[in-house]
Subunit: 439 residues, 3 copies
């Protein structure tokens, strides 16, 4: 009887084929395969468009950093942002991706270097995935640039930028996000939640930035001998604001793109991302108004970024209402954090340590506290383990790296070059030769 | 016999399953479900990417407004644009979306506040739809900002921006676009055509802007006592032009994204959007050349925007050839409208009333006149009802709102603050501290 | 027996329909149709989003050109970029698209003018395809603008921009890319590889630019009488850098979008595009460092663009490793090419001839040399035929065109207008009226 039915079904297919007038007529099975393929195409399109949006964040970071610093260093800042992406792409291709997503022993990956796991004619998903990950790696690297602006030697910058892209970021990433091939990272194994990288990307960037700012020391004239703090104003606020708008749209790739799949989950992630940013921006403005007497633009812009960083870990597993709370707290936190680091004389021209380090840690904790499934003690303590291990790994390795650079090729430009500006001394350039900046 | 066949079919499925080596093997029905799901995923991806593009228009509006005004108010303009999106997001989440798309009595919606209709584990389409709509609401709000630039008190701005996002825009929107849940708006019921919002978004923004500009009065020095008009030049034309390019790309989300579905219709909407913008830009340049003797950049930029606003209502139901005509007329209209409002001493620094109010009305009429299905008398008169009711509702409510603000917390800064610039007086900031603007 | 089975199958479908509670229940065939439709929707979404990204390149070109030239010509540059896209859209709609993709005799197309092949209710794919192609045409046109900056008469610019969009670009394009309808171009027939247009778009732009720069002659003061070269500095490096970032993201539409289909191939194209750009940027920086003693920003920015142009032809048929080599060579080539053209006194303010002409030719050759299927003698020689025929066609027609314009309405502004700046003399405008540029 069974065999009879198989014959019947098979014959029915033949007939269907005859109807369609083709030899390879569709069957239930071929349709099921075709559906999977169309979904796969949608996954490719979504993941790669999201990667393009995250790439655009490089422009956002460049504009925020340039806008918040002085005209005499704008060329240097553009060069740094261009180079950390360009060199970072090459180093992440050669080394970083393999360490981060290769078959892992729990601590680092061991294959996939030079994209060698992609064979012509093979499944190109590894390429789509690499493309999405390389723009993340570059984000971690470029965060550091802001905190070390206006006084870092360009050669020193190139070295630390390469090491962060090739080693520091990928190794921590492998702990939390595990392998594309086989095995899982030790933090991942504990159940650590960091959907799009509040810790993996932003805290790694932020704590590296902290180490860098400490090793470098403050800009000349920032802190007076009598303990005063002299604000050094950014030279182009519209550019900085444009940078924040670009980062905001980039985050619509960063967070929802982290599904690396075209599915319904991206809707809530979009909404959460947007509401947290909005809440962070509004709260930071209000706090600045209460404390300074006027709604301050720099704090408001950083408030939006703080909300975005804060929601990055939990964007897929908290509700929209919780996102507003998470963003609002981030907007408050970034304000006081910026003042705190200024008070202890860690000179961070753009507030990168506060936005990415502190709010990254907050977001990681919040992903546990506001978890849709309920914040169990185990989840919250795992989040804390992730936060602490990120700080320990990143701050220590980055600190050693910066000390090594400082003791060898040099990390800081001489004072006279800092006064003249890095554009002319490091690059023989001038960002605005038709205008005469008044420094 | 029927039961025998059911058994046969069922058995055939069992066999197919055995072939595929899995228990839940595909069937015709499961395939049909899966196809629907993949299409749904494509709808989510398309709608949300379009939302991201529309979000980017916030940056475009900020740059156009800043570029077309003076350097001393650039910080204020960035703050306003940042805040109308941030606060607008929160107010639209709490109030606006429910009023606009909740179950409606024809005049306003009554549920969906605080996104309360989304339950964890439920269908997240309401979130995707909200995300697309919140960026529309923010567009209406931010249009107003341009017409009231360089003299509006920041607190007054925050209040009217909130009221427009929470009440004025959503209530008119519910008339024309109806409910996501149940019921339809009264204008929608008449057959009103406004596919992507020439009236719903742009005219609402434009007529609110008109009310605001009238209540505020012109900037100091704009109109001389002897009846002369003194042009106040924009301080950064490249930024304004970049803003227009950003708005143009944003419109590729605004118009085709209004399908909120990944389908073939988006192709014609893209083409229509682009051709209308191109025609508007070219015609505005030609008219400015004929009238001023030289091709003027501000008019050309506004011509592109006029074409975009003009095609927004009819983008899905007119041909590409008609789009060129619609855009060309819009480009001509915006030129004379800008001169007209200047002549009657309504000071609109960026031409927002002409671009969004006047060309929004034109676009709405044009959607009827050039309707692919033919312009019946009924369609054209319905379009006129929509245009008039939008003006009546928006101008009146906005006028009252601005008068109320003016009479209480104040809408306009004192003259000495206006002369000094809003950046320092309202925000304690300076957009370009390294340069010395020559006002 | 066969007929019995047909009846059985048909009955089974009826039953399935009854189960689903609808009259048009799914069948294997209807499912197969539906799958094709969903894939088609994904193709539309991908192609049109890619078109939007390529459109954004117009902003990138505008910023690079404005940033690399003087403040007194910034309005003129914005006007040119706005107009070549706007007029180009209209001319490509009326004439260019038909010549390029109409049914072809091997040398030009003969239908599709005014998008007349699209009938309401017909298949809108021609519209999606047109939208993707119009942004390519505008790219070719806008490349020319950079090489002729700061001295070209606006009326002359409008004429040549129209002719390039309507004739020069589409006719060469039809040789290499053939028809959407019927027939193939003669170069296409030889097996010429130019996936996304290293030759079709970039070399056409670059060689037209070369003809224009030669006919125009250098800017006043660029070359001194004793044979010296006086650098004329760009007035806004952050804008230029933003332009390069925008071009880079735009290229993620340009290259992978050239599949005009949502498929897996886009992954490798993304990766190749990114790696070539990164390599070009790093190598150009290194070479400038070795030659000038300092890492120069203009060369580094052009190095990224060189890598992007270089990979455009071969992005779909070379490996990621090869892409790095192709980009690196392009980064080196652009450096020496810029110096070469300066030495022979062809004044190209932004390096457009080197970036687009020279590196476009290199990329076309490289697509043959690094071809995944192996570089046969036939492939390489066909690539050379394509490169040479592009130069011959483009340089000759463009040279004649520029000579004609020069002899009639005039191509160059009078010296006193060039000294004063084109913003005031050609447009009655001023890009930065709040600041006093120091020319």
């Amino acid at each position: 009887m069974k065999y009879l039915l198989m014959i019947l079904t098979s014959l029915a297919c033949t007939i269907t084929a005859a109807w369609a007038g083709t030899d390879d007529a569709p069957t239930v099975l071929s349709n099921a395969e075709a559906i999977k393929l169309v979904q796969t195409h949608a996954d490719y399109v979504w993941t790669l468009i999201a990667a393009a949006l995250v790439f655009f964040m490089q422009a956002g970071f460049a504009l925020v950093e340039a806008g918040f610093t002085r005209a005499k260093n704008a060329v240097n800042i553009m060069m740094k942002n261009l180079m950390d992406f360009s060199m970072g792409s090459l180093f992440y291709w050669a080394i970083g991706f393999g360490l981060m997503f290769g078959t892992t022993n729990g601590f680092f990956g061991t294959n996939g270097f030079f994209l060698s796991d992609f064979k012509v004619g093979g499944d190109p998903w590894v390429l789509a995935f690499w493309m999405f990950q390389v723009v993340f790696a570059a984000t971690a690297a470029t965060i550091v640039s802001g905190a070390m602006a206006e006084r870092t030697k360009f050669t020193g910058y190139l070295v630390y930028s390469a090491v962060i892209s090739a080693l520091i970021y990928p190794i921590f990433g492998s702990w939390a996000w595990g392998s594309l091939f086989h095995g899982s990272g030790w933090l991942e194994g504990l159940g650590f939640i960091d959907f799009a990288g509040s810790t993996v990307v932003h805290s790694v960037g932020g704590w590296s930035a902290l180490a860098g700012a400490i090793v470098l020391g403050p800009r000349l004239g920032k802190y007076t001998k009598d303990g005063g703090i002299k604000p050094i104003l950014g030279h182009n606020i519209p550019l900085a604001a444009l940078g924040v708008f670009i980062l905001w749209i980039g985050w619509f790739g960063f967070n929802p793109g982290s599904t690396t799949a075209a599915n319904k989950d991206i809707a809530m992630i979009f909404v959460n991302t947007n509401l947290a940013a909005a809440a962070g921006c509004v709260v930071a403005m209000i706090v600045s108004w209460l404390k300074f007497g006027k709604p301050e633009v720099g704090m408001s812009l950083n408030g939006a970024l703080a909300g975005l960083v804060g929601i990055t870990a939990g964007c897929a597993n908290v509700t929209p209402g919780s996102s507003i709370i998470i963003g609002a707290i981030a907007g408050c936190l970034v304000f006081f954090s910026v003042l705190f680091f200024d008070k202890i004389k860690v000179d961070d021209p753009v507030g990168a340590v506060s936005v990415h380090g502190v709010c990254g840690a907050w977001g990681t904790l919040a992903a546990g506290l506001f978890n849709i499934g309920g914040p169990t003690m185990k989840i919250v303590s795992t989040q804390c383990i992730g936060i602490v291990s990120c700080f320990a790994w990143t701050f220590c390795t980055a600190f050693i790296l910066f000390k090594l650079i400082s003791g060898t090729i040099g990390l800081r430009v001489p004072p006279e070059e800092e006064v003249e500006g890095l554009d002319s001394t490091e690059h023989g350039g001038n960002a605005y030769p038709d205008f005469s900046p008044n420094h």
